[in-house]
Subunit: 184 residues, 2 copies
DNA sequence: AAATTGAAATTTTTAATTGAAATTTCATTC
DNA sequence: GAATGAAATTTCAATTAAAAATTTCAATTT
């Protein structure tokens, strides 16, 4: 009874705007069953969970990121060693989830921007608010019509949905990035 | 016309749950006047602003933290050099606002916990959500009945309103702390 | 004349309804 | 026991109404 993959499934499903009906249909199970899985009343088979994770676009290992930790701290802390890459198919950008749970009102992400790289086009996105602090390296943000060059220690926050980034430097740029509401 | 102290005043007032009527009364001015000040249609005198900042519990210099920066980046970026201590009368804890504006849906704070110090009693607080990443040092969080020892790189997130902290180490603990909704 | 007030006009917020959609429950089937 | 499917329940989004808060601006004060 220790693993509540259900809570993660629910958050991922919601952040993607899917209903029980849709996800259950996609993985070939009933709405009632998925409801029970999400609430921890039924344990899905590994095969079921594999289908679910495929459909939600995460690796199945994501559900077990804190598996080796004491149950009391699961969902409350995420240890540095347990962070997993998530999302972001963009080359040049590696995102690791810092939030121990997906069900909060905001999400914390460690973003690493490769040297000499930049985001592709602009982002299409739901209305959300972004913010962050540059920890190391250099990073240029293009927000609206403004171009902002960040140095370590600088912080930022904005609601523009279309923005882009660029790392002109020779070293990776590392930022703590905050998104609200959650995107994963 | 460059300084919009009004926006900060409005955010601080709201985060403290005050109405125009209350704050205006406390500083001996009319509601209409304060409304104009907050919307940048009237500039308060330095004396008025002093009274307002006293009542809101910030140093008057807070309103001018980004004064030397280009207007385009004000409210969007906060440069490392412009950070000011804010809030937290607690000894052992220094909080610096990272958010460039107070009007977002969350607030980013750099918290420095002195060696061998701890929070006094529990916190009384409005419902909010806290999260963060420990950047350096060691920090113990007491959340509900759980005691969590954090190492650098560990991240956390919770909604419990009563929590406490303790730094048993010999060096300061530095964390990036996120609060939603804003408290300042 | 510029700053400030105060009261009327307007906007925002809160609470209560309601119908639709989504979710939960649980007796039945596989 | 695992899973389904339909009935029961809950949640969500859209309305509406009343109260509270804010804005506006003509009048007053400095």
């Amino acid at each position: 009874m220790s693993h509540h993959v259900g809570e993660d499934i629910r958050s991922l499903r919601k952040s993607r705007g899917m209903t029980l009906l849709e996800l259950a249909g996609d993985v070939g199970r009933s709405v009632g069953w998925l409801s029970q899985v999400e609430r921890g009343q039924t344990t899905p088979s590994v095969r079921d969970l594999g289908q679910i994770s495929d459909r939600l676009g995460v690796n199945i290992s994501f559900f077990f990121r804190s598996a080796s930790r004491a149950p009391e701290e699961r969902g409350l802390v995420l240890r540095a060693a347990d962070r997993t890459p998530i999302g972001s198919q963009e080359s040049g950008l590696v995102e690791e989830l810092l939030s121990p749970t997906l069900s909060g009102s905001f999400e914390m992400i460690k973003s690493t921007f490769a040297p000499r790289s930049s985001s592709g086009g602009r982002r299409k996105a739901r209305p959300k608010e972004d913010g962050g602090v540059l920890i190391s390296g250099r990073l240029t943000l293009i927000i609206g019509d403004r171009e902002i060059r960040l140095e370590p220690g600088d912080s930022f926050q904005f609601r523009e949905t279309d923005y882009a980034w660029r790392n002109d430097g020779d070293e990776p740029a590392i930022a703590i990035w905050i998104v609200s509401p959650p995107i994963y």
